[in-house]
């Protein structure tokens, strides 16, 4: 595939790089944007799911006779109706043995949501309770109840090793730090829950699904129901948040389809908030034993990490986080060994949550680096500078932007005033500061496709099977098409999120959307322009190769014609082009680099942490839209603050019951905790990475937040927190212990 030449670093661009307002902002502020929960086909029924009240149990009997007499109940679905329909990697829609509190047992569709709620409560289920375990550490202990037939851990530990870390750790005269860090089970809690509206027309099924991946839902449901793919159309126009949790086909899509078929009417199944917390994915809880070894000058000699990640009861296909990643890439080090073990527990299935693995590992590694800096009596930023990696040591290739992290270090340090002298605090309220690195991929990849139509009136339509999950994809793709065609961005409409006509594009995850689909849109636009140039050559009677498109005109020497005239002349024909993402460069590794610095104030009497400043410097290739870029950073850092200080799904271990499956006690940040973010973009268009030069930004900003805050709290108080979240209670306990 021929690749378009990337725009030069100093190229004058008219649409790309501008803070164009969000294309769908008006629809969102007026409430007219139609989300999955707002789709109202005629005759719509509302569905509810009956979920297991036990963490582990055999379903012995399900009695639905009470529902027969209930007015308004239209369809009931149990294991008897869905036998053999597989789900997750080795389970079923309604498993015979439920493996977590919240596992699906039955579902009802009724005329109203209230009737559906009554109906699921009227189902009588006989369970045989089985022993359970909800904590990863308990699950790997000897004598633990068996979570799955295959055992409580995944197959083999995933080991990655370079050099000889055992020998390096044994070297005399070195400095070693070693500690265990744990991170919590955190829940995405997107405001729009997972859900589906399903409608059948004969053997054709339409699903409006709150998903980051219309093609994954199409494939998942088609396979489960034995339908050809072209009979399943999946639509996602607007979605109320995903953050990773909606990147796979979930049971709700299949259950809604089955209920709708049984009832002969469209069915909407939106999870309630409790179910959203129990059964719709969460970030893996991890336990990481970390060892760092350096010489007296602070040069890393060896890194070791043993990682256990709790994936819950099932493997969703989206739960296998690369928690080893940061240990292998953050710093230059010849001897690294990581060992990653999957642990099963009787809890809901895990699924990737914004920077899966990296946010967890960065907390451990970046805290350990801070501990090492203290041990060496070195400035923590200086220690990082001394261990700078210019190449990708996993792929053994140079980075496309080898100076990205260095530029981020300096930009953050300068904005923060890192090198300024400080007076130590000894009073009740103490200030501290911390730093952490964040490295992510976000390079995008093929395959990703797009189509562009250039209408006779000059307007442009872009169509792709990707989805805008709130990040601004619609807007950024419009800017890229406008740039390539030389038209005003307001003339471009972008159609996304429909398997019926959208060319394949990947799941909106991994911060990969812009860098995957952006170049495809650019290529499609270039091909549409080629059709226009062919026509213009005929009109002018000149060699096609002599024609040049310059903004609104097509020129050949001193002869020229306006684009508008060419479009009009060709009408009713419409110029069009398809475009596909080019392969990534073979001789380079693509990564994005950033740094976070936090300044906190800790009130040692009441255990309150106040965030004074959070400086984030981030390199992410060419910036297509600076306003949307900043919003992504703001969102990531805000979620990072929740991960650092408040968010945790808490279980009663004895009963296996989650205690805070709601938004009252699961504490996401509020406006009162608005993050004092100072964002410093590092401009570094990455033309080697792809033809747009952009890299993803969704995930990087959450990676460094928690360790930067934890390190700042240590700096302020001398208390090292090796477990997240650092709640007020934990801080008070630690302060009390210190006295």
């Amino acid at each position: 595939m021929e690749r378009l030449q990337a725009w030069g670093d100093g190229a004058t661009l008219r649409s790309v790089g501008k803070a164009v307002p969000r294309a769908d902002a008006a629809a969102k502020v007026t409430g007219s944007a139609v989300y999955t929960s707002d789709v109202r086909p005629k005759g719509l029924l509302y569905a509810r799911v009956l979920r297991s009240p036990h963490a582990h149990a055999r379903v012995k009997d399900i009695n639905c006779t009470a529902l027969v007499a209930m007015p308004g109940v239209r369809a009931v679905l149990t294991r008897a109706d869905a036998k053999g329909i597989g789900w997750y990697q080795d389970s079923e829609i309604y498993p015979e043995t439920v493996h977590f509190l919240g596992d699906e047992v039955a579902a009802v569709a009724a005329e109203t949501d209230d009737i559906a709620s009554d109906a699921v409560r009227a189902i009588t289920v006989t369970y045989e309770a089985l022993p359970h375990v909800v904590e990863g550490a308990d699950s790997v202990a000897s004598g633990a109840p068996r979570v799955r037939e295959g055992g409580n851990t995944g197959e083999e530990p995933k080991v990655t090793e370079r050099g000889d870390s055992a020998a390096a750790f044994a070297t005399d005269g070195t400095v070693t730090v070693e500690a265990e860090y744990t991170t919590q089970r955190a829940v995405h809690n997107s405001l729009e829950p997972h859900g589906t509206t399903a409608a059948w027309d004969g053997e054709h099924l339409t699903l409006w699904d709150s998903t980051q991946a219309v093609f994954a839902v199409q494939r998942g449901v088609a396979e489960a129901l034995g339908l050809p793919l072209h009979n399943v159309r999946v639509i996602k126009q607007y979605m109320g948040g995903g953050f990773g949790a909606k990147q796979i086909a979930w049971k709700n899509a299949c259950i809604a389809a089955l209920l709708a078929r049984k009832a002969g009417q469209p069915v909407q199944l939106m999870l309630d908030r409790e179910a959203e917390n129990l059964a719709a994915g969460h970030r893996n809880a991890t336990r990481q034993r970390v060892r760092l070894c350096a010489d007296r000058d602070g040069h890393l000699l060896a890194i070791g990490a043993h990682i256990e990640q709790d994936v819950g009861a099932y493997q969703t296909g989206g739960e296998a986080s690369d928690t080893a990643g940061p240990y292998l890439v953050h710093y230059r080090c010849s001897n690294v060994r990581t060992e990653q073990v999957t642990v099963f527990t009787n809890t809901g299935p895990a699924v990737a949550f914004r920077a899966p693995g990296y946010a967890e590992a960065a907390f451990a590694l970046e805290s350990a680096m801070d501990e090492l800096a203290r041990e060496l009596d070195l400035d923590p930023l200086e220690l990082r500078r001394r261990n700078y990696a210019e190449t990708d040591q996993v792929k053994d290739k140079p980075y496309t932007t080898p100076g990205g992290l260095a530029a981020a270090y300096e930009a953050a340090a300068s904005a923060f005033g890192w090198d300024e002298q400080r007076e130590p605090d000894h009073g009740r309220v103490r200030r501290g500061r911390g730093v952490a690195v964040q490295v992510w991929g976000g390079s995008g990849f093929p395959p990703a496709g797009a189509m562009v139509k250039w209408n006779p009136d000059g307007s442009v339509e872009v169509a792709s099977g990707t989805q805008d999950i709130g990040t601004g994809t619609r807007t950024a793709l419009a800017q890229i098409a406008a740039e390539e065609l030389g038209v005003d961005v307001r003339c471009v409409a972008v159609h996304l999120g429909d398997t019926a006509w959208g060319l394949y594009a990947p799941t909106s995850a991994g911060s990969a959307t812009l860098a995957s689909v952006g170049p495809a849109v650019r290529a499609a636009a270039a091909n549409a322009r080629n059709e226009l140039l062919d026509h213009a050559a005929e009109m002018l009677g000149v060699e096609r190769s002599l024609l040049r498109a310059t903004g609104a005109r097509v020129e050949c020497g001193d002869r020229g014609i306006s684009v508008a005239e060419v479009l009009k002349d060709a009408a009713p024909r419409i110029f069009s082009g398809t475009g596909h993402r080019e392969p990534n460069p073979e001789d380079h590794a693509v990564r994005s680099f950033g740094v976070q610095m936090a300044e906190v104030e800790v009130d040692t009497e009441v255990g309150e942490v106040r965030l004074l400043r959070l400086v984030t410097a981030q390199e992410s290739g060419r910036v297509v839209n600076p306003a949307l870029l900043r919003s992504q950073v703001l969102g990531g850092v805000t979620q990072g603050v929740g991960f650092a200080l408040t968010e945790e799904q808490v279980f009663d271990h004895r009963l296996g019951v989650p205690l805070n499956a709601n938004l009252e006690e699961y504490l996401v940040p509020t406006a009162a905790e608005a993050v004092p973010l100072e964002f410093v973009p590092v401009h570094m268009p990455d033309g080697t990475a792809n033809s747009v030069g952009a890299k993803g930004i969704g995930e990087p900003p959450i990676i460094g937040t928690a360790p930067a805050i934890a390190n700042a709290i240590y700096d302020a108080t001398g208390i090292r927190f090796r477990s997240l979240p650092i709640t007020r209670r934990r801080l008070l306990d630690a302060l009390a212990e210190m006295q």
Binding site: P21, R22, D24, A25, A26, A27, K28, V29, T30, G31, S32, A33, V34, Y35, S37, D38, R40, Y46, T112, D113, D114, H188, S190, L191, E192, P193, Y238, M239, G240, G241, G242, F243, M270, D272, R273, I469, G470, G472, A627, L628, R630, S631, L634, G635, G636, V637, T638, Q639, N662, L663, E664, V668, P669, T670, A671, A672, E673, A674, V675, L677
Partner: protein, 159 residues
């Protein structure tokens, strides 16, 4: 089932519902006014905020039958065909991402600005403190509200 009469966005509307029907479900399921969002259904998040006699209220915590004598305003009733300055400020400040909490945020600020065109920063923060935004756009929401305050002050200052 009983007959419930509601005055929503200046229009009289009638529906049949059980006494337990919440105002939120009445708006979304019976009247097709889906701009008001259901997120927690228990008063934790603010996505279902509407105005009842000008006050910002969680519609998931109110029974439809209990607000038959009040004036109800939903996001569909804001702006009268054009954008309200609050909505415009949200666009200008990129005070939204996925947009699911946005109608609730706008309604909370609408109640604030209708009552006090020049609220202080703390009043603004309090007005939206009960509206969760999981995308984390709070800084931009607060900036948008301050921008509204700015324009209101300027327009009043003109002769």
């Amino acid at each position: 089932m009983q007959r419930i009469c509601l005055r929503v966005n200046g229009r009289e509307m009638e529906l049949l519902g059980e006494p337990r029907l919440t105002l939120l479900d009445a708006l979304r399921e019976r009247l097709g006014l889906t701009g008001t969002k259901k997120v927690c259904d228990m008063g934790d998040c603010g996505a279902c905020t509407v105005l009842i006699d000008g006050k910002a209220m969680y519609s998931c915590l109110i029974l439809a039958t209990d607000c038959q004598s009040e004036a109800i305003t939903t996001i569909e009733g804001v702006g009268n065909g054009s954008l309200d300055p609050i909505q415009q400020a949200f666009i200008d400040c990129d005070a939204l991402q996925c947009g699911y909490c946005t109608p609730g945020q706008v309604m909370s600020l609408k109640a604030l600005f209708d009552a006090d065109p020049e609220p202080g920063d703390l009043e603004i923060e309090r007005a939206v403190a009960g509206n969760l935004c999981r995308c984390g756009t709070y800084l931009n929401i607060l900036a948008a509200a301050r921008e509204v305050r700015g324009t209101a002050a300027v327009s009043r200052g003109a002769p």
